[in-house]
Symmetry: C2
Subunit: 313 residues, 2 copies
């Protein structure tokens, strides 16, 4: 796919704020000041503010031709309908596409945020030009998005890509849904911190949870701390188990990994690649890349804007 020449708005709807930007061909032309969700009583007022912001942006960018919104929750993509956003009060059964489309007169697409991130990496980021891509965002939880045969794969209920809920141990730690061995109960930021505190305690080193963020463990490892290095190897073992299972199932071209854990760089990517290779056949491994994400905070805006632009061609 070549670069889009369409100008579009990307909206990254987070738990506390809504960020807007204008993109063309994967380039972020401008970003608007974030809208704090708490300032607006319910969906109607907040969508009204989005429309007002878009109207203003169109004064500078009159060629804006489409709007893409990514939300932190379950959507019905075909109808642009938001089922529920658990972290945003009042957002339940909202026909976002219909309302925003009516207020702006522009075509609107509504997508899950992890899917939008995957699309940004596929279309203009680390996985550009590849056909089958699995993207992960690692933070408190682990989200994922799939590009299969060059298209976003959403699954039967727009709920695909929940990599953090996949099991790495049939009798392991229960996840949010009681699902034993859920990956994010091993490699979510909180669980990494808990594990690190325990590993240090075993070596008679006292650390608090606050001292064991991915960044701090990475800094410690870089400074020569053997325990910190060992923790990264363990994270690589757990995460690599999931990635190799996904690779056996989907035989993809690439994994793209973003979020705090990915920022540890070689500390995580080196043992992770070794682990995944050790779990695969040559045929599956030899076409597989394991890549850090190109985008971070701007992934949502670029992904949603690109989805919107590509939806009208």
């Amino acid at each position: 796919m070549s670069e889009s020449s369409i100008t579009s708005v990307g909206i990254d709807f987070g738990g506390t704020s809504v960020k807007l930007g204008v993109c063309r061909g994967g380039e972020l032309l401008t970003t608007d000041a974030p809208i704090p969700t708490a300032h607006f009583a319910g969906p109607a007022a907040l969508i009204g503010e989005m429309a007002a912001r878009i109207a203003k942006l169109r004064e500078t960018y009159p060629d804006i031709a489409a709007i893409g919104v990514g939300v932190p929750g379950l959507v019905d993509f075909d109808h642009g309908f938001v089922h529920i956003l658990t972290n945003v009060p009042g957002w339940k059964h909202v026909p976002l596409k219909a309302i925003l489309g009516e207020k702006t007169g522009l075509p609107v697409v509504v997508e899950n945020d992890a899917n939008a991130m995957a699309y940004a990496e596929f279309r203009y980021g680390a996985a550009r030009g590849l056909n089958n891509v699995v993207a992960l965002t690692m933070g408190t939880g682990i989200g994922g998005g799939l590009i299969l045969n060059g298209q976003l794969y959403r699954g039967s209920g727009c709920a695909a890509g929940e990599i953090g809920q996949m099991s790495i141990h049939f009798d392991g730690k229960p996840g949010h849904y009681g699902n034993l061995g859920a990956l994010e109960k091993y490699t979510g930021n909180k669980e990494i911190a808990e594990h690190a505190v325990q590993r240090y305690a075993e070596a008679h080193v006292q650390k608090t949870l606050e001292e064991c963020t991915p960044k701090m463990i990475a800094d410690a490892a870089k400074a020569g701390d053997d325990i910190a290095r060992q923790i990264w190897d363990e994270i690589a073992d757990w995460l690599g188990t999931s990635l190799s299972s996904i690779a056996w199932l989907l035989n993809p071209d690439a994994f793209v990994i973003g979020g705090g854990v990915a920022q540890a760089g070689d500390l995580i990517f080196d043992p992770l690649k070794r682990k995944v290779q050790s779990m695969l056949s040559t045929v599956v491994w030899e076409r597989l890349q394991i890549l850090p994400a190109r985008y971070s905070n701007e992934a949502g805006i670029i992904g949603n804007a690109s989805l919107a632009a590509d939806s009208i061609v």
Copy 2:
């Protein structure tokens, strides 16, 4: 997709014999006597025999318009090229599509056998009318095929669907590739037998491996043997862990399960459904069906014939 009106030949290339049949619209019109692979010295002679058999079938079915061949190994689908069949001597780097196409003058498709089985179930079997389907064949190993967005998904190197190699335990039993926790090392027929012998031994009952086939364990459970029931529950736990991980990743409409284990019927399907439900969110579970395969031995012929017929419309 409606029933195909095209008549086509399906060829199911197994480790010891090659089976041929003529199909139309998912219906098996006739089958030919199997060709024993050992009677033919190498690919050229065997492909010659296939072509001769097809010529004969065309005397009765002059409207045969395409040929589909499924092989037990890795293929390049786009080129109809067989990389290697580990169980059939001499089958390495064989341009099967080109040779068989030239000998018959008909369009030929070459597919992996597990993919062909998945296609048969999707097109005319248990998963007919569904869009996202994961099919498993359980025997010595566990093969799989994926239908995503209404199409066979092959992956970047035509190697997708290796469900038996996915891990259910990050520190579990090593699979064929050294991959820790490989599902088929828990639920392959041989491993089930070994596990059963051990479970019986713990209860001071002596059984041989030969007395612990899936069928025998199913018969024992039906006759009221508590140990046998417990074994089925354990198989359901292991298999269900894999299925739930796949469901989180792909949010499919259905799993279709064939092979010896599936023939245990409710003994496996009841605890399997309970296990998978216990591992999923309502959203993912509520659209998910777990179904026994419709086809058994004829799956290969019907799947390959259907792939060939659908490839020329």
